[in-house]
């Protein structure tokens, strides 16, 4: 599970928030990209600030450099601005990384559905998320909350309908054309 670190990850200046505005802006962009690609690869959806300082994402032991707590917050705030994250609660201890917006997920799910002929058919959420059919799909193992958000987006668009099964307490979804 070796993640391909970008080259700038191994350069010390990357771990100091630059004072010069233009440089800083670019640096934060690169950080955001890194955070998103890392969380995506490792399928992480939640970052706990207290643990973050030690995680290999923010702490490069090879070059003995890490982002300070303050700097991490700066990076995360930037992420939030971009819409790729949001604080879980007011205490700002945990942050939810949204490396793909629900809408994007919705489109992917719907695309899969059309490609595999599930239009006008019902699937369980379980099947979609963890079933055999979708093992190679991106949304395989997707966080349930995000998945449901995606489905609700589809519902809004009128391309699907979510309903609860009474007996099994499972959710199912029917795709429309």
């Amino acid at each position: 599970m070796s993640f391909a670190w970008p080259r700038y990850y191994n350069l010390p200046p990357f771990f100091t928030i630059q004072p010069v505005m233009q440089t800083q802006k670019k640096q934060l962009q690169l950080w955001c990209d890194l955070v998103l690609s890392y969380t995506r690869a490792k399928n992480i959806h939640m970052i706990d600030l207290t643990e973050a300082e030690d995680s290999e994402l923010f702490n490069n032991k090879n070059i003995e450099r890490k982002l300070s707590r303050q700097s991490i917050v700066i990076v995360l705030e930037y992420l939030i601005q971009r819409g790729n994250a949001k604080w879980v609660d007011k205490t700002k201890e945990k942050i939810q990384i949204v490396w793909r917006k629900p809408l994007e997920w919705a489109n992917i799910i719907y695309k899969w559905a059309t490609e595999n002929g599930f239009i006008n058919q019902i699937c369980t959420v379980y099947e979609l998320r963890e079933g055999d059919m979708t093992q190679n799909e991106e949304f395989f193992g997707l966080d349930i909350q995000v998945f449901m958000q995606a489905l609700s987006k589809l519902e809004q668009k009128g391309k699907a309908k979510v309903f609860q099964s009474e007996s099994t307490n499972e959710s199912g979804v029917k795709f429309f054309a």
Partner: protein, 571 residues
Amino acid sequence: MSFFEKLHFQTNKNLPQLFSTELQLHHCSDASIGYTGKQKYEKKATLILTSHRLLWTTLKKKKVSGEYIPLSKVNEIQDSKSRKSKIKKIVFTTFIKNTKAKKKKSSKKTDDLVVTLSFKSPQNEFLEKFHKALKEKVWASKPKKETMGLLGTTTRSHNTNKPSLTIGISGLLAREEKKKIQTTNTLSQAFTDLDSLMQSAKEMVQISEKFALRYKRAKEEEEKEKLWKEQQKKNLGMGIGSGIGSGIGSGIGSGIGSGIGSGIGSGIGSGIGIGSGIGIGSGIGIGSGMGIGIPRSSGISSGRNTRMSSGFGSGIGVGMPTTNQRTQIPTSSKNVPNQTPSTSDLLEFDEILFSVGIKNPVTKKGVSSNQYYKKLAKEIATFVAKFIEKMGGMITVIDTYCLFNRARGTELISPEDLVKACKQFQKLGLGLKLHKFDSGVLVIRNDFEDDSTIAKKILKLIQTHGPITPFETAMMLKIPINLAKEYLLTSEREKYLCRDDSLDLVFYENFFLIENYDYEKLENFLKNPKLSIEKSNIQMSSPKSNKKQVTKKTNNSKKKISKKNDDWELL
């Protein structure tokens, strides 16, 4: 007009002749002086207040004339009614008898002359200084010179009158007395003979300038023919050493000479200096020698002094040549080291040169303050221009202050004066400007240089040497560390660099803002850690040996630590 004494002027100048200890205190051009009485007298003149007198001069058809009142004859200044108001009139009583005045019943009982000074512009300062001058009574104190002179004369007469008592204890005592008196005499003469020394200093400067010319020519020739020419140059004499420093001298000389600084030694010094190396002149100088210390550009390495200080004065201190190293007959190339001695000699000579250079320092005497700052600015500009290129086009005001005052010797200027004069640079179009960095550091730099040129220079430096700290920059460019930091910050501001602040401050090339950055190069730099550049440079040894050590130690061929000039030439 007849009440006042006539003022004497300096020959061929329209400046009044002042007494030796008289100092000009204030100067006012739009004034008029007068007194009332039977014969009213009023004259428009330029008024000058000195420590001894009150002078006024008028200019008629390019010819000046003037008169004065000695302050000893001034009785009392009448208090103006309200102190806060702008003073345009000063009235004072004198001890001069106004023989032509009418005796008024209402006025004072005496017939002393009452003088009125009136000004077009308010002159509160003048009044204050007038009060002060009257209070201090500088004219009343006996100047030291006269007492010394008196001492001299008395002792001389004393000597001639005395019968020679050479026998017995009294004889011994007499001899001791004689010796004491002689030494005091010579010392006092030495102190008062500063003028003649300054004259010698001028000659020194002329000689050194001659050498400077020769040196320049020599440098050109050197590049053409190596060995033979070097030999010649050495003999031309790098020997303006700290004359008395290595000598055994009594008096001022010995102390100052061996140190860093310009020593004007006039002790009874027998300077016996022996240069290190073969075939060097040894002169025995007796008499007034001139010590010129070797300045340090950035305040490091006192070690160099030991070599140069073996020059000294014979008469007026142009020392005999000292060569710091071998002076063998050039037979084979083996004898000649890689970095030729003459180059470093010349470099050092260069440094000495710019500490000797100011013949007629501008002083505040007899010059209005505006003019003074203008002249001072010009003087500073010419002085700084000599070496600003070597310093990389920029020199801190602090360094200028030190070097400039050292070159002046006497008549030192204050820091505020220096800054004020520097502010005039651009106005006077002297090719320099005073620049203040964000952190507050003041520098003098060339007109055409600005932030971007410096930034680019630093960028090139980083591209060749890899990531760099302010300390390393200072070492490599031979500039003070605060200036080095400013350079780096400037370059960062111009977005050429980015920083790593985690442990020490290190600057890298700004890979954030470069498309398709070549990471490989940087990674290489990081893999090969910098090998004790700092350590070798900290040592207090000669720059030559510094460079040798450094070149030995660094393994990475990419990091060639080149000569100080070369670094800037690269850029």
